[in-house]
Amino acid sequence: MEQRVLPYLLLLPATLFLCVFFIYPFLLVAWQAFSEGGSFTLEHFQTMAGHWKFSTAFWNTMLLALAVVPVQIALALLMATLVTRMGSGRDLILYIWTIPLGISDLAAGIIWLAIFEQTGFLNSMLAGLGIIEQPITWLSYQNKSTIFLAVVLAEIWRATAIVLVILVAGMGLIPKEYYEAAEVFGAGPWKRFVRITLPMLRPSLQTALILRTILAFEVFAVVMALGGTNLPVLMGETYVWQFDLQDRNVAAAYALVILGISIAFTLVFLRTLRVPREAQP
Protein backbone atom coordinates (compact mmCIF):
# COMPACT_ATOMS: atom_id res chain seq x y z
CA MET A 1 0.00 0.00 0.00
CA GLU A 2 2.60 2.49 1.17
CA GLN A 3 4.86 1.47 -1.70
CA ARG A 4 2.21 2.50 -4.18
CA VAL A 5 1.40 5.82 -2.62
CA LEU A 6 4.97 6.90 -1.95
CA PRO A 7 5.95 7.88 -5.52
CA TYR A 8 2.90 10.10 -5.87
CA LEU A 9 3.54 11.60 -2.47
CA LEU A 10 7.06 12.47 -3.56
CA LEU A 11 5.80 13.98 -6.79
CA LEU A 12 3.25 16.10 -4.99
CA PRO A 13 5.41 19.11 -4.00
CA ALA A 14 6.76 19.55 -7.52
CA THR A 15 3.29 19.13 -9.00
CA LEU A 16 1.84 21.69 -6.63
CA PHE A 17 4.63 24.10 -7.43
CA LEU A 18 4.04 23.68 -11.17
CA CYS A 19 0.29 24.11 -10.78
CA VAL A 20 0.49 27.25 -8.67
CA PHE A 21 3.30 29.04 -10.46
CA PHE A 22 3.05 27.80 -14.04
CA ILE A 23 -0.19 26.18 -15.02
CA TYR A 24 -2.50 28.57 -13.15
CA PRO A 25 -0.86 31.77 -14.50
CA PHE A 26 -0.75 30.17 -17.95
CA LEU A 27 -4.48 29.45 -17.83
CA LEU A 28 -5.10 33.02 -16.67
CA VAL A 29 -3.11 34.41 -19.59
CA ALA A 30 -4.82 32.07 -22.03
CA TRP A 31 -8.21 33.12 -20.69
CA GLN A 32 -7.22 36.77 -20.98
CA ALA A 33 -6.27 36.27 -24.59
CA PHE A 34 -9.47 34.48 -25.49
CA SER A 35 -12.07 36.32 -23.47
CA GLU A 36 -13.81 39.67 -23.24
CA GLY A 37 -16.16 40.42 -20.38
CA GLY A 38 -16.37 36.78 -19.39
CA SER A 39 -17.18 35.25 -22.78
CA PHE A 40 -15.02 33.60 -25.44
CA THR A 41 -13.78 35.79 -28.28
CA LEU A 42 -11.05 35.92 -30.94
CA GLU A 43 -11.25 39.71 -31.00
CA HIS A 44 -7.86 40.23 -29.32
CA PHE A 45 -6.10 38.03 -31.81
CA GLN A 46 -7.76 40.01 -34.59
CA THR A 47 -6.59 43.27 -33.00
CA MET A 48 -3.09 41.86 -32.72
CA ALA A 49 -2.89 40.51 -36.26
CA GLY A 50 -4.59 43.59 -37.68
CA HIS A 51 -2.02 45.96 -36.24
CA TRP A 52 0.57 47.01 -38.80
CA LYS A 53 3.49 46.13 -36.55
CA PHE A 54 2.48 42.52 -36.02
CA SER A 55 3.78 40.97 -39.20
CA THR A 56 6.97 43.08 -39.03
CA ALA A 57 7.56 41.95 -35.46
CA PHE A 58 6.78 38.34 -36.36
CA TRP A 59 9.18 38.24 -39.30
CA ASN A 60 11.89 40.19 -37.49
CA THR A 61 11.76 37.65 -34.68
CA MET A 62 11.89 34.75 -37.12
CA LEU A 63 14.74 36.26 -39.15
CA LEU A 64 16.70 37.02 -35.99
CA ALA A 65 16.34 33.43 -34.80
CA LEU A 66 17.29 32.17 -38.26
CA ALA A 67 20.37 34.39 -38.37
CA VAL A 68 21.50 33.83 -34.82
CA VAL A 69 20.88 30.17 -33.94
CA PRO A 70 22.70 28.43 -36.85
CA VAL A 71 25.75 30.66 -36.41
CA GLN A 72 25.73 29.96 -32.70
CA ILE A 73 25.53 26.20 -33.24
CA ALA A 74 28.35 26.25 -35.79
CA LEU A 75 30.49 28.50 -33.65
CA ALA A 76 29.84 26.47 -30.51
CA LEU A 77 30.71 23.24 -32.36
CA LEU A 78 34.02 24.74 -33.42
CA MET A 79 34.77 26.10 -29.96
CA ALA A 80 33.72 22.85 -28.26
CA THR A 81 35.98 20.85 -30.58
CA LEU A 82 38.90 23.12 -29.74
CA VAL A 83 38.22 22.99 -26.01
CA THR A 84 37.78 19.21 -26.00
CA ARG A 85 41.14 18.72 -27.68
CA MET A 86 42.98 20.96 -25.26
CA GLY A 87 45.00 19.49 -22.47
CA SER A 88 46.00 21.99 -19.84
CA GLY A 89 44.32 25.38 -19.81
CA ARG A 90 41.09 23.83 -21.00
CA ASP A 91 39.12 24.90 -17.96
CA LEU A 92 40.50 28.42 -18.08
CA ILE A 93 39.49 28.90 -21.71
CA LEU A 94 36.07 27.45 -20.98
CA TYR A 95 35.56 29.88 -18.09
CA ILE A 96 36.63 32.84 -20.20
CA TRP A 97 34.36 31.86 -23.04
CA THR A 98 31.41 31.50 -20.70
CA ILE A 99 31.81 34.93 -19.08
CA PRO A 100 29.09 36.51 -21.31
CA LEU A 101 26.66 34.00 -19.76
CA GLY A 102 26.99 35.82 -16.48
CA ILE A 103 25.99 39.16 -17.98
CA SER A 104 22.30 40.02 -18.14
CA ASP A 105 20.86 40.50 -21.61
CA LEU A 106 20.10 44.16 -21.00
CA ALA A 107 23.69 44.76 -19.87
CA ALA A 108 24.91 42.92 -22.96
CA GLY A 109 22.71 45.16 -25.09
CA ILE A 110 24.15 48.26 -23.42
CA ILE A 111 27.71 47.02 -23.97
CA TRP A 112 27.04 46.69 -27.69
CA LEU A 113 25.24 50.03 -27.67
CA ALA A 114 28.45 51.55 -26.36
CA ILE A 115 30.17 50.13 -29.40
CA PHE A 116 27.64 51.09 -32.06
CA GLU A 117 26.18 54.44 -30.86
CA GLN A 118 27.12 57.69 -32.53
CA THR A 119 29.90 58.47 -30.05
CA GLY A 120 30.69 54.79 -29.56
CA PHE A 121 33.87 52.77 -29.83
CA LEU A 122 33.32 51.76 -33.43
CA ASN A 123 33.02 55.32 -34.67
CA SER A 124 35.97 56.55 -32.60
CA MET A 125 38.05 53.68 -33.91
CA LEU A 126 37.13 54.27 -37.54
CA ALA A 127 37.71 58.02 -37.14
CA GLY A 128 41.01 57.35 -35.39
CA LEU A 129 42.12 55.20 -38.31
CA GLY A 130 41.06 57.94 -40.66
CA ILE A 131 38.52 55.76 -42.44
CA ILE A 132 35.58 58.09 -41.71
CA GLU A 133 35.39 61.79 -41.10
CA GLN A 134 31.89 62.06 -39.70
CA PRO A 135 30.58 59.59 -37.15
CA ILE A 136 28.03 57.25 -38.70
CA THR A 137 24.67 56.77 -37.01
CA TRP A 138 24.68 52.97 -37.24
CA LEU A 139 21.56 52.49 -35.19
CA SER A 140 19.20 55.05 -36.73
CA TYR A 141 15.76 54.10 -38.02
CA GLN A 142 17.08 54.63 -41.55
CA ASN A 143 19.67 51.92 -41.01
CA LYS A 144 17.46 48.97 -40.09
CA SER A 145 19.87 46.41 -41.51
CA THR A 146 22.72 47.64 -39.30
CA ILE A 147 20.43 47.52 -36.27
CA PHE A 148 19.57 43.95 -37.23
CA LEU A 149 23.24 43.10 -37.67
CA ALA A 150 24.14 44.69 -34.34
CA VAL A 151 21.45 42.66 -32.58
CA VAL A 152 22.67 39.48 -34.28
CA LEU A 153 26.26 40.19 -33.18
CA ALA A 154 25.23 41.00 -29.62
CA GLU A 155 23.09 37.88 -29.38
CA ILE A 156 25.86 35.67 -30.74
CA TRP A 157 28.33 37.21 -28.34
CA ARG A 158 25.95 36.88 -25.41
CA ALA A 159 24.39 33.47 -25.79
CA THR A 160 26.75 31.20 -27.73
CA ALA A 161 28.33 30.08 -24.48
CA ILE A 162 25.23 28.23 -23.32
CA VAL A 163 25.35 26.13 -26.50
CA LEU A 164 29.08 25.67 -25.97
CA VAL A 165 28.59 24.36 -22.45
CA ILE A 166 25.98 21.84 -23.59
CA LEU A 167 28.11 20.65 -26.50
CA VAL A 168 31.31 20.37 -24.46
CA ALA A 169 29.44 18.19 -21.96
CA GLY A 170 28.05 16.11 -24.82
CA MET A 171 31.43 15.67 -26.49
CA GLY A 172 32.93 14.58 -23.19
CA LEU A 173 30.49 11.68 -23.18
CA ILE A 174 31.67 10.24 -26.50
CA PRO A 175 34.14 7.44 -25.71
CA LYS A 176 37.63 7.98 -27.11
CA GLU A 177 37.63 4.48 -28.55
CA TYR A 178 35.16 5.42 -31.27
CA TYR A 179 37.53 8.09 -32.52
CA GLU A 180 40.43 5.68 -32.42
CA ALA A 181 38.45 3.08 -34.34
CA ALA A 182 37.40 5.66 -36.91
CA GLU A 183 40.99 6.82 -37.24
CA VAL A 184 42.33 3.31 -37.73
CA PHE A 185 39.65 2.60 -40.32
CA GLY A 186 40.63 5.58 -42.42
CA ALA A 187 38.71 8.62 -41.20
CA GLY A 188 40.61 11.91 -41.18
CA PRO A 189 39.73 14.74 -38.78
CA TRP A 190 36.82 16.08 -40.86
CA LYS A 191 35.34 12.63 -41.48
CA ARG A 192 35.63 11.83 -37.80
CA PHE A 193 33.73 15.01 -37.00
CA VAL A 194 30.98 14.29 -39.52
CA ARG A 195 30.71 10.54 -39.04
CA ILE A 196 31.33 10.21 -35.29
CA THR A 197 31.04 13.52 -33.43
CA LEU A 198 27.92 14.92 -35.09
CA PRO A 199 25.77 11.77 -35.00
CA MET A 200 26.82 10.90 -31.45
CA LEU A 201 26.23 14.49 -30.36
CA ARG A 202 22.63 14.44 -31.53
CA PRO A 203 21.02 14.45 -28.06
CA SER A 204 23.14 17.44 -27.01
CA LEU A 205 22.51 19.25 -30.29
CA GLN A 206 18.81 18.70 -29.78
CA THR A 207 18.89 20.17 -26.28
CA ALA A 208 20.99 23.13 -27.39
CA LEU A 209 18.79 23.85 -30.41
CA ILE A 210 15.57 23.73 -28.43
CA LEU A 211 16.95 25.91 -25.68
CA ARG A 212 18.52 28.46 -28.01
CA THR A 213 15.57 28.67 -30.38
CA ILE A 214 13.08 29.24 -27.58
CA LEU A 215 15.33 31.93 -26.14
CA ALA A 216 15.75 33.48 -29.58
CA PHE A 217 11.98 33.83 -29.93
CA GLU A 218 11.98 35.64 -26.60
CA VAL A 219 14.67 38.12 -27.65
CA PHE A 220 13.85 41.48 -26.04
CA ALA A 221 16.34 43.44 -23.95
CA VAL A 222 19.16 43.44 -26.51
CA VAL A 223 16.75 44.64 -29.20
CA MET A 224 15.41 47.33 -26.89
CA ALA A 225 18.87 48.58 -26.06
CA LEU A 226 20.13 48.67 -29.63
CA GLY A 227 17.04 49.42 -31.69
CA GLY A 228 14.34 50.67 -29.35
CA THR A 229 11.15 50.40 -31.33
CA ASN A 230 12.91 50.67 -34.68
CA LEU A 231 13.22 46.92 -34.83
CA PRO A 232 9.92 45.56 -33.51
CA VAL A 233 10.00 41.96 -32.25
CA LEU A 234 7.23 39.83 -30.75
CA MET A 235 8.42 40.14 -27.16
CA GLY A 236 8.81 43.90 -27.55
CA GLU A 237 5.28 44.21 -28.86
CA THR A 238 4.01 42.17 -25.93
CA TYR A 239 5.65 44.70 -23.66
CA VAL A 240 4.26 47.65 -25.59
CA TRP A 241 0.70 46.33 -25.49
CA GLN A 242 0.92 45.44 -21.84
CA PHE A 243 2.49 48.60 -20.45
CA ASP A 244 2.28 51.37 -23.05
CA LEU A 245 -1.08 50.63 -24.61
CA GLN A 246 -2.43 49.09 -21.39
CA ASP A 247 -4.20 46.30 -23.24
CA ARG A 248 -3.57 43.11 -21.29
CA ASN A 249 -5.68 41.02 -23.59
CA VAL A 250 -3.70 41.72 -26.74
CA ALA A 251 -0.44 41.32 -24.77
CA ALA A 252 -1.71 37.91 -23.66
CA ALA A 253 -2.48 37.03 -27.28
CA TYR A 254 1.13 37.94 -28.21
CA ALA A 255 2.43 35.78 -25.38
CA LEU A 256 0.40 32.87 -26.67
CA VAL A 257 1.77 33.34 -30.19
CA ILE A 258 5.33 33.19 -28.84
CA LEU A 259 4.42 30.09 -26.86
CA GLY A 260 2.87 28.49 -29.93
CA ILE A 261 5.94 29.09 -32.10
CA SER A 262 8.22 27.78 -29.35
CA ILE A 263 6.20 24.60 -28.96
CA ALA A 264 6.07 24.07 -32.72
CA PHE A 265 9.82 24.38 -33.15
CA THR A 266 10.50 22.23 -30.09
CA LEU A 267 8.35 19.48 -31.60
CA VAL A 268 10.19 19.78 -34.90
CA PHE A 269 13.60 19.41 -33.18
CA LEU A 270 12.38 16.58 -30.99
CA ARG A 271 11.24 14.73 -34.06
CA THR A 272 14.06 15.42 -36.53
CA LEU A 273 16.93 14.92 -34.10
CA ARG A 274 15.44 11.91 -32.38
CA VAL A 275 17.85 9.03 -31.81
CA PRO A 276 15.98 5.78 -32.40
CA ARG A 277 15.95 3.59 -29.34
CA GLU A 278 17.92 0.82 -31.02
CA ALA A 279 20.66 3.22 -32.11
CA GLN A 280 21.23 4.56 -28.62
CA PRO A 281 24.55 3.62 -27.10
Partner: protein, 349 residues
Protein backbone atom coordinates in the same frame (compact mmCIF):
# COMPACT_ATOMS: atom_id res chain seq x y z
CA UNK B 1 54.31 -8.56 -47.92
CA UNK B 2 53.73 -7.11 -44.51
CA UNK B 3 56.58 -7.90 -42.26
CA UNK B 4 56.45 -5.75 -39.14
CA UNK B 5 59.67 -4.60 -37.68
CA UNK B 6 59.97 -2.74 -34.43
CA UNK B 7 63.38 -1.23 -33.91
CA UNK B 8 64.58 0.01 -30.56
CA UNK B 9 61.18 1.42 -29.61
CA UNK B 10 60.82 3.08 -26.23
CA UNK B 11 57.89 4.86 -24.66
CA UNK B 12 58.07 7.02 -21.59
CA UNK B 13 55.21 8.72 -19.78
CA UNK B 14 56.98 11.34 -17.69
CA UNK B 15 59.27 9.41 -15.38
CA UNK B 16 57.59 6.11 -16.07
CA UNK B 17 59.13 3.90 -18.73
CA UNK B 18 56.34 1.90 -20.31
CA UNK B 19 58.50 0.37 -23.03
CA UNK B 20 62.24 -0.03 -22.97
CA UNK B 21 64.15 -0.57 -26.22
CA UNK B 22 61.85 -3.06 -27.87
CA UNK B 23 63.16 -4.97 -30.87
CA UNK B 24 60.78 -7.34 -32.54
CA UNK B 25 60.25 -8.63 -36.03
CA UNK B 26 56.98 -10.23 -37.01
CA UNK B 27 57.18 -12.23 -40.23
CA UNK B 28 54.67 -11.84 -43.05
CA UNK B 29 51.47 -13.78 -42.26
CA UNK B 30 52.72 -14.66 -38.82
CA UNK B 31 50.42 -14.75 -35.80
CA UNK B 32 52.32 -13.05 -33.03
CA UNK B 33 50.91 -12.84 -29.53
CA UNK B 34 52.12 -10.24 -27.05
CA UNK B 35 51.65 -11.84 -23.66
CA UNK B 36 52.16 -10.33 -20.26
CA UNK B 37 50.53 -9.24 -17.04
CA UNK B 38 48.64 -5.96 -17.00
CA UNK B 39 50.95 -2.98 -17.00
CA UNK B 40 53.76 -4.78 -18.83
CA UNK B 41 53.46 -2.49 -21.87
CA UNK B 42 51.90 -4.90 -24.34
CA UNK B 43 48.92 -2.68 -25.16
CA UNK B 44 51.19 0.38 -25.42
CA UNK B 45 53.34 -1.49 -27.94
CA UNK B 46 50.27 -2.46 -29.97
CA UNK B 47 49.02 1.11 -29.92
CA UNK B 48 52.40 2.34 -31.11
CA UNK B 49 52.22 -0.07 -34.05
CA UNK B 50 48.67 1.15 -34.73
CA UNK B 51 49.74 4.78 -34.55
CA UNK B 52 47.43 5.64 -31.66
CA UNK B 53 50.48 6.31 -29.52
CA UNK B 54 53.79 7.82 -30.62
CA UNK B 55 57.03 6.18 -29.49
CA UNK B 56 59.48 8.29 -27.50
CA UNK B 57 62.21 6.78 -29.65
CA UNK B 58 62.73 4.04 -32.18
CA UNK B 59 61.21 3.07 -35.51
CA UNK B 60 58.24 1.05 -36.68
CA UNK B 61 58.32 -0.50 -40.15
CA UNK B 62 55.45 -2.23 -41.91
CA UNK B 63 56.57 -3.95 -45.10
CA UNK B 64 59.12 -1.66 -46.68
CA UNK B 65 57.67 1.54 -45.22
CA UNK B 66 58.66 3.34 -42.10
CA UNK B 67 55.34 4.23 -40.47
CA UNK B 68 56.02 5.70 -37.05
CA UNK B 69 55.38 9.25 -38.30
CA UNK B 70 52.22 8.30 -40.24
CA UNK B 71 48.68 8.61 -38.88
CA UNK B 72 46.90 5.28 -38.27
CA UNK B 73 44.81 5.55 -41.42
CA UNK B 74 47.89 5.54 -43.65
CA UNK B 75 49.45 2.44 -42.16
CA UNK B 76 47.39 -0.24 -43.91
CA UNK B 77 46.23 -1.78 -40.67
CA UNK B 78 42.93 -2.83 -39.16
CA UNK B 79 42.28 -3.20 -35.48
CA UNK B 80 39.94 -4.98 -33.10
CA UNK B 81 39.49 -3.10 -29.87
CA UNK B 82 39.06 -4.52 -26.41
CA UNK B 83 35.67 -2.87 -25.98
CA UNK B 84 34.87 -3.54 -29.66
CA UNK B 85 34.17 0.15 -30.42
CA UNK B 86 31.26 -0.86 -32.63
CA UNK B 87 29.62 2.45 -33.57
CA UNK B 88 26.23 2.62 -31.83
CA UNK B 89 24.69 4.99 -34.37
CA UNK B 90 25.39 2.75 -37.36
CA UNK B 91 23.88 -0.57 -38.37
CA UNK B 92 26.01 -3.69 -38.42
CA UNK B 93 26.27 -3.33 -42.20
CA UNK B 94 27.48 0.26 -41.95
CA UNK B 95 29.88 -0.64 -39.18
CA UNK B 96 31.53 -3.31 -41.30
CA UNK B 97 31.44 -0.98 -44.31
CA UNK B 98 32.95 1.94 -42.39
CA UNK B 99 36.54 1.47 -43.49
CA UNK B 100 35.50 0.59 -47.03
CA UNK B 101 33.46 3.77 -47.36
CA UNK B 102 36.45 5.76 -46.14
CA UNK B 103 38.42 4.22 -49.00
CA UNK B 104 35.57 5.25 -51.34
CA UNK B 105 35.21 1.77 -52.79
CA UNK B 106 32.35 1.28 -55.26
CA UNK B 107 29.03 0.34 -53.67
CA UNK B 108 28.97 -3.11 -55.29
CA UNK B 109 32.40 -3.93 -53.90
CA UNK B 110 31.37 -2.73 -50.45
CA UNK B 111 28.28 -4.94 -50.56
CA UNK B 112 30.32 -7.91 -51.68
CA UNK B 113 32.97 -7.54 -48.99
CA UNK B 114 30.51 -6.82 -46.16
CA UNK B 115 28.42 -9.81 -47.23
CA UNK B 116 31.43 -12.09 -47.38
CA UNK B 117 32.97 -11.12 -44.03
CA UNK B 118 29.57 -11.11 -42.32
CA UNK B 119 29.04 -14.63 -43.62
CA UNK B 120 32.50 -15.61 -42.43
CA UNK B 121 31.77 -14.33 -38.93
CA UNK B 122 28.21 -15.80 -38.95
CA UNK B 123 26.47 -12.46 -38.56
CA UNK B 124 24.86 -12.33 -42.00
CA UNK B 125 21.39 -12.19 -40.43
CA UNK B 126 22.26 -9.21 -38.20
CA UNK B 127 23.27 -6.69 -40.86
CA UNK B 128 20.30 -4.37 -40.27
CA UNK B 129 20.62 -4.31 -36.51
CA UNK B 130 22.27 -1.72 -34.33
CA UNK B 131 24.99 -2.37 -31.80
CA UNK B 132 22.53 -1.88 -28.94
CA UNK B 133 20.54 -4.86 -30.18
CA UNK B 134 23.51 -7.25 -30.14
CA UNK B 135 24.98 -9.49 -27.46
CA UNK B 136 28.60 -9.13 -26.42
CA UNK B 137 29.64 -12.05 -28.59
CA UNK B 138 27.85 -10.64 -31.63
CA UNK B 139 29.46 -7.24 -31.15
CA UNK B 140 32.80 -8.99 -31.01
CA UNK B 141 32.02 -10.65 -34.33
CA UNK B 142 31.09 -7.30 -35.85
CA UNK B 143 34.37 -5.81 -34.66
CA UNK B 144 36.34 -8.67 -36.24
CA UNK B 145 34.28 -8.51 -39.44
CA UNK B 146 34.91 -4.77 -39.69
CA UNK B 147 38.63 -5.44 -39.52
CA UNK B 148 38.54 -8.40 -41.94
CA UNK B 149 36.49 -6.48 -44.51
CA UNK B 150 39.43 -4.13 -44.98
CA UNK B 151 41.49 -7.08 -46.24
CA UNK B 152 44.38 -5.46 -44.44
CA UNK B 153 48.02 -6.48 -44.50
CA UNK B 154 48.08 -6.28 -40.73
CA UNK B 155 45.43 -6.93 -38.10
CA UNK B 156 46.02 -5.72 -34.58
CA UNK B 157 43.93 -7.20 -31.78
CA UNK B 158 43.82 -5.73 -28.30
CA UNK B 159 42.52 -8.36 -25.87
CA UNK B 160 39.59 -9.03 -28.17
CA UNK B 161 38.19 -11.91 -26.14
CA UNK B 162 38.66 -10.56 -22.64
CA UNK B 163 35.13 -9.17 -22.33
CA UNK B 164 33.42 -12.43 -23.28
CA UNK B 165 32.30 -15.10 -20.85
CA UNK B 166 34.39 -18.23 -20.56
CA UNK B 167 32.40 -20.51 -22.87
CA UNK B 168 32.04 -17.92 -25.60
CA UNK B 169 35.73 -17.13 -25.32
CA UNK B 170 36.62 -20.74 -26.04
CA UNK B 171 34.31 -20.82 -29.05
CA UNK B 172 35.52 -17.49 -30.46
CA UNK B 173 39.14 -18.46 -29.93
CA UNK B 174 38.86 -21.49 -32.17
CA UNK B 175 36.88 -19.49 -34.71
CA UNK B 176 39.35 -16.63 -34.79
CA UNK B 177 42.19 -19.03 -35.33
CA UNK B 178 40.39 -20.59 -38.28
CA UNK B 179 39.39 -17.27 -39.86
CA UNK B 180 42.79 -15.66 -39.44
CA UNK B 181 44.62 -18.73 -40.71
CA UNK B 182 42.65 -18.48 -43.96
CA UNK B 183 43.25 -14.77 -44.41
CA UNK B 184 46.68 -13.69 -45.49
CA UNK B 185 47.25 -11.12 -42.82
CA UNK B 186 49.99 -10.62 -40.33
CA UNK B 187 48.40 -10.57 -36.90
CA UNK B 188 49.56 -9.06 -33.65
CA UNK B 189 47.39 -10.08 -30.78
CA UNK B 190 47.61 -8.76 -27.24
CA UNK B 191 46.43 -10.87 -24.33
CA UNK B 192 47.13 -11.57 -20.69
CA UNK B 193 45.65 -15.05 -21.01
CA UNK B 194 48.40 -17.60 -21.49
CA UNK B 195 46.04 -20.31 -22.71
CA UNK B 196 44.81 -17.97 -25.43
CA UNK B 197 48.40 -17.17 -26.31
CA UNK B 198 49.47 -20.81 -26.46
CA UNK B 199 46.51 -21.87 -28.56
CA UNK B 200 46.61 -19.05 -31.11
CA UNK B 201 50.19 -18.00 -31.58
CA UNK B 202 52.79 -18.91 -34.13
CA UNK B 203 55.13 -17.10 -31.79
CA UNK B 204 54.63 -15.62 -28.35
CA UNK B 205 56.46 -12.53 -27.22
CA UNK B 206 56.41 -12.60 -23.43
CA UNK B 207 56.65 -9.12 -21.97
CA UNK B 208 57.59 -7.98 -18.50
CA UNK B 209 58.17 -4.46 -17.21
CA UNK B 210 58.32 -2.88 -20.64
CA UNK B 211 60.69 -5.42 -22.17
CA UNK B 212 60.31 -8.48 -24.35
CA UNK B 213 61.73 -11.32 -22.33
CA UNK B 214 61.34 -14.05 -24.92
CA UNK B 215 59.79 -14.30 -28.37
CA UNK B 216 59.58 -17.86 -29.60
CA UNK B 217 57.18 -20.62 -30.60
CA UNK B 218 54.69 -21.42 -27.83
CA UNK B 219 56.17 -24.81 -27.06
CA UNK B 220 59.67 -23.30 -26.82
CA UNK B 221 58.43 -20.62 -24.46
CA UNK B 222 56.77 -23.30 -22.39
CA UNK B 223 59.58 -25.84 -22.40
CA UNK B 224 62.60 -23.56 -22.40
CA UNK B 225 61.76 -20.30 -20.63
CA UNK B 226 64.47 -17.77 -21.33
CA UNK B 227 64.06 -16.28 -17.92
CA UNK B 228 62.66 -17.20 -14.57
CA UNK B 229 59.77 -14.79 -15.12
CA UNK B 230 58.58 -16.71 -18.18
CA UNK B 231 58.58 -19.99 -16.29
CA UNK B 232 56.65 -18.51 -13.40
CA UNK B 233 54.18 -16.67 -15.65
CA UNK B 234 53.40 -19.39 -18.18
CA UNK B 235 51.94 -22.72 -17.15
CA UNK B 236 49.12 -23.41 -14.81
CA UNK B 237 50.31 -24.20 -12.20
CA UNK B 238 53.60 -22.46 -12.99
CA UNK B 239 57.12 -23.86 -12.77
CA UNK B 240 58.58 -24.91 -9.41
CA UNK B 241 61.81 -23.31 -8.32
CA UNK B 242 64.26 -24.61 -5.69
CA UNK B 243 67.67 -23.36 -4.66
CA UNK B 244 70.58 -25.52 -5.88
CA UNK B 245 73.94 -25.42 -4.07
CA UNK B 246 77.25 -26.17 -5.73
CA UNK B 247 78.55 -29.71 -5.08
CA UNK B 248 81.67 -31.46 -6.40
CA UNK B 249 82.38 -32.13 -10.07
CA UNK B 250 80.09 -29.41 -11.37
CA UNK B 251 77.05 -31.07 -9.88
CA UNK B 252 74.36 -29.29 -7.88
CA UNK B 253 72.56 -30.37 -4.69
CA UNK B 254 68.85 -29.69 -4.55
CA UNK B 255 67.00 -30.65 -1.36
CA UNK B 256 69.62 -33.26 -0.61
CA UNK B 257 69.57 -34.81 -4.09
CA UNK B 258 72.44 -34.36 -6.55
CA UNK B 259 71.82 -33.36 -10.18
CA UNK B 260 74.05 -32.78 -13.16
CA UNK B 261 73.81 -29.08 -13.97
CA UNK B 262 75.24 -26.18 -15.93
CA UNK B 263 78.59 -24.60 -15.25
CA UNK B 264 78.32 -21.44 -13.19
CA UNK B 265 80.60 -19.28 -11.08
CA UNK B 266 77.94 -18.93 -8.46
CA UNK B 267 77.55 -20.99 -5.31
CA UNK B 268 73.82 -21.08 -5.60
CA UNK B 269 71.56 -21.13 -8.64
CA UNK B 270 67.87 -21.93 -9.16
CA UNK B 271 66.62 -25.36 -10.12
CA UNK B 272 63.29 -25.41 -11.99
CA UNK B 273 60.87 -28.10 -13.00
CA UNK B 274 57.30 -28.04 -14.29
CA UNK B 275 54.72 -29.74 -12.02
CA UNK B 276 53.75 -32.27 -14.69
CA UNK B 277 57.37 -33.39 -15.15
CA UNK B 278 57.47 -35.00 -11.71
CA UNK B 279 56.76 -38.58 -10.79
CA UNK B 280 57.00 -40.48 -7.49
CA UNK B 281 60.29 -42.39 -7.25
CA UNK B 282 62.55 -43.59 -4.42
CA UNK B 283 65.45 -41.32 -5.34
CA UNK B 284 63.35 -38.16 -5.81
CA UNK B 285 63.12 -34.89 -3.91
CA UNK B 286 61.69 -35.30 -0.41
CA UNK B 287 58.29 -33.64 -0.23
CA UNK B 288 55.66 -33.33 2.46
CA UNK B 289 52.11 -33.21 1.13
CA UNK B 290 50.15 -30.11 2.11
CA UNK B 291 47.09 -30.07 -0.13
CA UNK B 292 45.69 -32.65 -2.53
CA UNK B 293 43.32 -31.41 -5.25
CA UNK B 294 41.83 -34.13 -7.48
CA UNK B 295 41.09 -32.56 -10.88
CA UNK B 296 39.67 -35.55 -12.74
CA UNK B 297 42.34 -36.67 -15.22
CA UNK B 298 45.08 -35.92 -12.72
CA UNK B 299 45.58 -34.42 -9.33
CA UNK B 300 47.38 -31.35 -8.19
CA UNK B 301 49.51 -31.96 -5.13
CA UNK B 302 50.92 -29.00 -3.26
CA UNK B 303 53.91 -29.97 -1.15
CA UNK B 304 56.65 -28.54 0.96
CA UNK B 305 60.19 -29.23 -0.21
CA UNK B 306 62.81 -27.79 2.14
CA UNK B 307 60.41 -25.10 3.22
CA UNK B 308 59.56 -24.11 -0.40
CA UNK B 309 56.18 -24.33 -2.05
CA UNK B 310 56.33 -27.12 -4.61
CA UNK B 311 53.56 -28.38 -6.87
CA UNK B 312 53.25 -31.66 -8.71
CA UNK B 313 50.68 -32.91 -11.16
CA UNK B 314 50.37 -36.62 -10.53
CA UNK B 315 48.25 -39.56 -11.66
CA UNK B 316 44.92 -39.47 -9.91
CA UNK B 317 45.15 -43.11 -8.82
CA UNK B 318 47.89 -42.47 -6.26
CA UNK B 319 46.51 -42.45 -2.74
CA UNK B 320 47.77 -39.38 -0.93
CA UNK B 321 46.70 -37.27 1.98
CA UNK B 322 47.93 -34.30 3.94
CA UNK B 323 51.14 -34.94 5.88
CA UNK B 324 52.30 -37.88 3.74
CA UNK B 325 55.98 -37.97 2.92
CA UNK B 326 56.72 -38.46 -0.73
CA UNK B 327 59.70 -38.54 -3.06
CA UNK B 328 59.26 -36.78 -6.39
CA UNK B 329 61.72 -37.40 -9.18
CA UNK B 330 61.99 -34.82 -11.98
CA UNK B 331 62.28 -36.00 -15.57
CA UNK B 332 65.99 -35.29 -16.19
CA UNK B 333 65.56 -33.79 -19.69
CA UNK B 334 62.96 -31.30 -18.38
CA UNK B 335 65.03 -29.77 -15.60
CA UNK B 336 65.88 -26.09 -16.18
CA UNK B 337 68.35 -23.83 -14.40
CA UNK B 338 68.31 -20.10 -13.78
CA UNK B 339 70.85 -17.59 -12.60
CA UNK B 340 69.55 -16.05 -9.35
CA UNK B 341 70.94 -12.59 -10.15
CA UNK B 342 70.19 -12.09 -13.83
CA UNK B 343 67.20 -14.48 -13.69
CA UNK B 344 68.28 -15.70 -17.13
CA UNK B 345 68.21 -19.34 -18.10
CA UNK B 346 71.48 -21.26 -17.70
CA UNK B 347 71.98 -23.72 -20.52
CA UNK B 348 73.57 -27.15 -20.08
CA UNK B 349 76.72 -27.66 -22.06
Amino acid sequence: MAEISIRNVAKRFGDFTALDSIDLTVADREFMVLLGASGCGKTTLLRIIAGLETPSEGEVWIGSRRVDHLPPRQRGIAMVFQNYAVFPHLTVFENIAFGLRMQKLPEAEIKRRVGRTAELMHIGQLLKRYSGQLSGGQRQRVAVARAMAMEPDVILMDEPLSNLDALLRLEMRAELKGVLAESKTTTIYVTHDQVEAMSLADRIAVMDKGRIVQAERPIEVYRNPAARFVGSFIGNPPMNFLPARKADNGAWRVAGVTFEGPASERDEIAFAIRPEDLAPADDGLPAEVRVVEPLGPHMLVTCDVEGQLFRAVLDSDIDLSRGDLLRLAPAPERIRWFDPETEQSLRMH
